[in-house]
């Protein structure tokens, strides 16, 4: 996984609550077999008019946000489906960090698996960032994971909380599976001591 340390980038404001993962990557793109290439279809139905013509009214298509890499969002971002295609698309588009007042659980978790830092800030601070962005052409934010702070060039500084373990894994870009496999002995011991759950009952009168 790509590690994350500190990132400074152009802020793109997505001013909607409860943005669900169906909007991030609609159904028709859930049939691809890869983890790559979803940036082009991020927010597909909002972003494109018929014939894949960019919808000039959708924020991702505003020329001033070209190259944005910090996504500023509203509450309960990423609700709904567990599809990891959503963070794949966000990362592939070029976003490295998200800032929002809250996230849906599965999406939040999926971000950390893909080198994206989802920062949680109080509603009032997120609102302040929306206002600062609206007032400042080319507004950039620095999202600093080691120091756990969101800062801008004018001296704004909002500290944020993040679980220390998640922070460690993201900073180092660690392989989760590799970490778990270090506990191989524990896993085997569990399987031996819990036959009632770790054993499959042979089905009776059963054929596919």
């Amino acid at each position: 996984m790509q590690p994350y340390s500190t990132h400074t980038g152009l802020v793109l404001p997505l001013d909607r609550v409860n943005v669900d993962t169906d909007q991030m990557v609609p159904k028709q793109f859930l049939k691809w077999l890869t983890r790559e290439g979803y940036g082009r279809v991020l927010f597909y139905d909002w972003r494109y008019l018929p014939g894949e013509k960019p919808n000039p009214e959708f924020v991702l298509n505003f020329p001033k946000y070209k190259g944005a890499s910090v996504l500023l969002a509203r509450a309960n971002f990423g609700c709904g489906s567990s599809r990891e295609h959503a963070p794949w698309a966000i990362a592939d588009y070029g976003f490295r960090a998200i800032i929002a007042p809250s996230y849906a659980d599965i999406f939040y978790n999926n971000c950390f698996k893909n080198g994206i830092l989802p920062v949680t800030l109080p509603e009032t601070q997120v609102e302040a960032l929306f206002q600062a962005e609206a007032a400042t052409p080319g507004y950039q934010l620095t999202v600093d994971l080691p120091n756990q702070a969101v800062t801008d060039a004018k001296g704004l500084r909002f500290p944020f909380e993040v679980d220390p373990f998640r922070k460690h894994v993201l900073l180092e870009g660690l392989d989760d599976i590799g970490l778990t496999l270090k506990h191989e002995t524990d896993i085997t011991a569990f399987e031996q001591s819990h036959p009632e759950t770790a054993t499959m009952y042979d089905p009776v009168d059963f054929s596919k």
């Binding site: 669900d20 859930l30 509203r74 489906s81 778990t180 059963f206 596919k208």
Partner: protein, 473 residues
């Protein structure tokens, strides 16, 4: 030992490793996979030179993209075909049991798990699908995961997890005639909001939950995720054990009785505490209909489309305005005055035999409205389909003007050819009314199976309690 909740008992019984400051490593008893979210996980395994640790605890099925008619014909959608081929290949190479499109046990993953007895009380169950919460109806800890976690479970049969908080959702009283499990869960989501359960596991209890069949409990647990909770659970009881006995993967005889004894001990102890409690009175509920673009935008069928101007929170106002624009609805419109173009009875929420029986009772000897552009009944599994056909339900639906299809996710997600056309309005028994969920530009209203059947007959929403009440349980 201090009194513990159902969730705490299952959690503690599955901890493989714990270190301070780290998430716990928990063991996963059953891993369900499907063609939609597993191919990248298998590719990841291959790249890392890893194998599936416990193919015997992993079950695969094709459901999301499968066609629901003409299944004997070649698959025209080449992307879907490549998903099916990948799943066949991955299961063959790893030894995972696959229910493919020809299997007589094929169906929606959250329908077949319980139906085959793969789902059992006290287990941890995961699947790369957010509606995995369904399996919690059996008193299991079941939740949806992303593809990276699917790969993690394939490789290790474990997951690194932070312990959730718990919410007791107490549904008191008896539900009135015409009010179903679907109405209860929609009302709960309407009350707490779609983020109300974030970070929490729900345990549903109370008289109204105890009175539900396993199918009804599955409907409730299924939509926990729509209230933000990754998992929802119901303590197993005699209803659970009666449902389980004799199913293919459930132990028999003496072993079954031993298992029941273990399962009985899972119920939350007297005096155990939850982080939060939510209460709802089932007796005062009316059938529910969603009017907006998330499941929390819901009201009673006797109600009207709300006025965003009357809402207090500016974000809520903005969201409601946008939703009404998308749904092409005016504030103040009576729900029963909203016409529907299509009806969909199916999905992992409401496609089980109970659901189909209830809908069939209502439409027996009647016909869907001439104004309807289509009405689909999609059984949740081929087992449900065969059972329904043996009872003659297929003929009742066909005579009433419905199409009777083969099993799959179908128009709940529209990954197969069953897509809601743009601008059309659908009364749907599924779980999500997000923009474009059933098809780009499609307008979804979530309802119970009997409410969907009633809307099909009338061509608009109706209060099912005013129809033939005898037919409505």
């Amino acid at each position: 030992m201090p009194p513990r909740t159902l969730f705490e008992k299952i959690w503690e019984a599955h901890v493989v490793h714990e270190s301070p400051g780290e998430p716990a490593l928990i063991y996963i008893d059953r891993h369900l996979i499907h063609e939609g979210t597993s191919p990248q996980a298998f590719s990841g395994l291959k790249v890392a030179g890893r194998t599936v640790r416990r193919p015997d605890l992993t079950f695969a099925v094709m459901d999301h993209s499968v066609p629901t008619k003409d299944r004997g014909l070649p698959i025209l959608d080449s992307d879907a075909k490549s998903q099916f081929d990948a799943l066949e290949r991955n299961c063959r190479e790893s030894g995972v049991h696959l229910f493919n499109m020809e299997s007589r046990n094929q169906g929606i993953v959250h329908v077949i798990g319980p139906e085959l007895g793969i789902t059992q009380p006290g287990q941890t169950i995961v699947c790369g699908d957010s509606h995995t919460s369904t399996h919690g109806a059996f008193g299991a800890l079941a939740f949806g995961i992303g593809t990276s976690e699917v790969e993690h479970v394939l490789a290790t049969q474990c997951l690194s997890q932070f312990k959730s908080k718990t919410t007791q959702v107490k549904v008191n009283g008896k539900r009135p005639h015409g009010v179903t499990a679907k109405d209860i869960i929609l009302a709960i989501i309407g009350k707490i909001g779609i983020a109300g359960g974030n970070g929490h596991v729900f345990e549903y209890c109370g008289e109204a939950i105890r009175g539900l069949s396993m199918e009804g409990r599955m409907t409730i647990c299924n939509m926990s995720i729509e209230g933000g909770a990754r998992a929802g659970m119901v303590a197993p009881d005699e209803t659970t054990f009666a449902y389980m006995e004799g199913r293919a993967f459930v132990p028999r005889g003496r072993e079954f009785r031993d298992a029941v004894d273990r399962w009985k001990a899972l119920a939350t102890d007297d005096g155990a505490t939850y982080d939060e409690t939510v209460q709802l009175d089932a007796a005062s509920l009316a059938p529910q209909v969603t009017w907006g673009t998330n499941p929390g935008m819901v009201t009673s069928v006797t109600g009207r489309v709300p006025d965003p101007d009357a809402m207090r929170d500016p974000d809520e106002q903005k969201a409601a305005r946008r939703a009404l624009e998308y749904m092409a609805l005016k504030p103040g419109t009576a729900l029963v005055d909203i016409p529907v173009d299509r009806v969909f009875i199916g999905s992992c929420t409401n496609s089980r035999i109970d659901d189909l029986r209830a809908a069939a009772r209502l439409v027996t000897g009647k016909h869907i409205a001439r104004s309807l552009k289509g009405a689909l009944v999609v059984p949740g599994s081929r087992v449900v389909k065969v059972e329904a056909e043996a009872e003659g339900l297929d003929q009742i639906f066909r005579d009433a003007g419905f199409e009777w299809r083969d099993a799959g996710c179908s128009m709940c997600i529209g990954m197969n050819p069953d897509v809601l056309p743009a601008g059309e309005r659908c009364a749907s028994t599924s779980n999500r009314n997000f923009e474009g969920r059933q098809g780009k530009g499609g307008r979804t209203h979530l309802v119970s199976p009997v409410m969907a059947a009633a809307a099909a007959l009338a061509g608009h929403f109706v209060d099912v309690r005013e129809m033939n009440v005898d037919a409505v349980e």
